[in-house]
Symmetry: C2
Subunit: 244 residues, 2 copies
C-alpha cells in the first residue's frame, strides 16, 4: 500500500465553509494530524486515528505526518483557514526538504477559506483592490522586518490583512503597529477587527485608526486595514476597484 499526505484547510470555523474536497479527504483518511483545536473539528470514526499536538511544534508535526504517510497511511494534516497562508503547508515542505528519502511521496495541498477572506466577506469588500497579508507575530522573523513591511505597504497604498496581531506574550507589537499606521496612513484610515469569524463568538467592528485600541485585537482576530480610498456604505466597508 502506498501512503499519501493531504495538507487540508478547514476554513475559519463554520462547517458550511469546508470544501467538499477536504470533506472527501477526511472521509478517506486513516490518520489525522494537527493542532489540538483543529483536530477537535474532525468527527471521530472507526478506522481513523487522531493525532492532536500542541501549537509550537509545526515541524515535528509535519515530520510525524510524513513518516505516517511513508509507512503507508492515508494522512491528512488539518489547518485552520487555508494551509498555505501562515499555516502547515510551508512546514510540511520544510520537513520534506530534511528527508530526501521521502521526496517521491504523494503530497497534496487542499486549499481552504483563509481567515482574511472570510473576515473581508463579513465586513463587505475591504480587500477589493491590491492588498498584502502580513503575519504580525515576531516568533519567526525579526520585529524590525515587520515594521519595514508595514511602512512599505502603506507607501504602496495596499489594503492590508494582519494575522496573529496580538497575544498575551507580545502585547507591545500591535500597539506599535497602530502607531506606525497612524503615522503612515493618517488617523481617518478605516480598520476592521474581525474576531472568531463565522463562529458563534464572531464580532466584527470597523473604526478609524484614531479610534483603534490595541485591546480590540487578540489571537482570534484578523485585522484588515483599508487603503486610502476605502469607505463605508451602510453597515459595510469596501475598497473601490479603481485607483488614481
Amino acid at each position: 500500500m502506498t501512503g499519501s499526505l493531504d495538507v487540508a484547510g478547514l476554513g475559519p470555523g463554520d462547517s458550511a465553509l469546508v470544501t467538499p474536497e477536504v470533506t472527501a479527504a477526511l472521509a478517506a483518511a486513516t490518520d489525522v494530524v494537527g493542532y489540538i483545536p483543529y483536530v477537535a473539528r474532525v468527527t471521530p470514526r472507526e478506522g481513523l486515528t487522531l493525532h492532536a499536538s500542541d501549537n509550537r511544534v509545526e515541524l515535528q508535526r509535519a515530520q510525524q505526518a510524513l513518516e505516517l504517510a511513508a509507512a503507508g497511511k492515508r494522512v491528512v494534516i488539518v489547518s485552520s483557514g487555508d494551509p498555505g497562508v501562515f499555516a502547515m503547508a510551508s512546514a510540511v515542505f520544510e520537513a520534506l526538504q530534511q528527508s530526501p528519502a521521502l521526496h517521491a511521496l504523494d503530497i497534496r495541498v487542499l486549499p481552504g477559506i483563509t481567515a482574511m477572506l472570510a473576515a473581508a466577506a463579513r465586513a463587505g469588500a475591504p480587500l477589493g483592490h491590491d492588498f498584502c497579508a502580513i503575519n504580525l507575530s515576531d516568533n519567526l522573523k525579526p520585529w524590525a522586518l515587520v515594521e519595514r513591511r508595514l511602512r512599505l505597504a502603506a507607501e504602496a497604498d495596499f489594503a492590508m490583512a494582519f494575522y496573529n496581531p496580538r497575544s498575551t506574550a507580545r502585547p507591545y507589537q500591535f500597539a506599535r503597529t497602530l502607531e506606525i499606521l497612524r503615522e503612515a496612513c493618517g488617523r481617518d484610515r478605516l480598520i476592521t477587527f474581525a474576531r472568531a469569524v463565522t463562529t458563534p463568538d464572531e464580532h466584527i467592528e470597523t473604526v478609524t485608526l484614531a479610534e483603534a485600541q490595541p485591546e480590540m485585537a487578540d489571537m482570534r482576530t484578523v485585522v484588515l486595514v483599508g487603503n486610502s480610498a476605502t469607505r463605508k456604505v451602510g453597515r459595510y466597508v469596501y475598497t473601490p476597484r479603481h485607483a488614481e
Copy 2:
C-alpha cells in the same frame, strides 16, 4: 416578501472547491446574475432565472442585482474565485453607494477559494510567508501605480500573486513586469505560472525570472513570485515560514 442579495464565490473551477454555503445559496435563489462563463457553471432548474452578461459591465450587473433584490427576489451574483478579490463584491458596494434607498437591503458576501490560493496549493506553498496580491490590469488604475507597487513589494521582500497578468489587448505590461522584477529581485528568483487551475486545462510551471517569458501568462493564468527565500523541494515550491 423581502429580497436578498448574496455575492458568491464559485472557486477556481473544480466543483469540489465550491463551499456548501454557496451551494445552499444557489439552491435557494430565484435569480442568478453574473459574467457569462460563471453563470454557465450554475445548473439550470425550474424557478431559477439566469441573467448572464458580458465582462466589462460590473457596475451595471451589480445595479441589476440590487434592483432584483429590492423587488423581492433572492438573488445570487456569481464570481469566479472569491468575490472579494478582484471580483464582484466591490462593484456591488459601489453600486449600493449610488442607491441610498437600498442601504437596508440584506447583502451577504459568501467567500470562495480565490485563484492565487488554489494555484499556491497546486504548486506547494509559495505564499507561506508575508505576501501581496496585485491586479496587473491597468483598466482601472494607471500603469505607473502598478510599477510603483511592484518595486515596493520587491523592496518589502513580499511573495507576490498577480491576477490578470496579460491579455491580447495589453501584452506590453507583463513583459515590463518581468523586467522590473528581474531588476528588483534578481534573475534566480522563482516564479510560478498557474494556468486554468483545477480545470482540465490546468498547467503549472515554476521557473526562474531569467527563464520566464511573457508568453507563459494569459488571462487564465495566475502568476506567483517567491520572496528571497523561496526554494524548491522535489516537484514543489515553497516559501519558508522563517525570515531574517
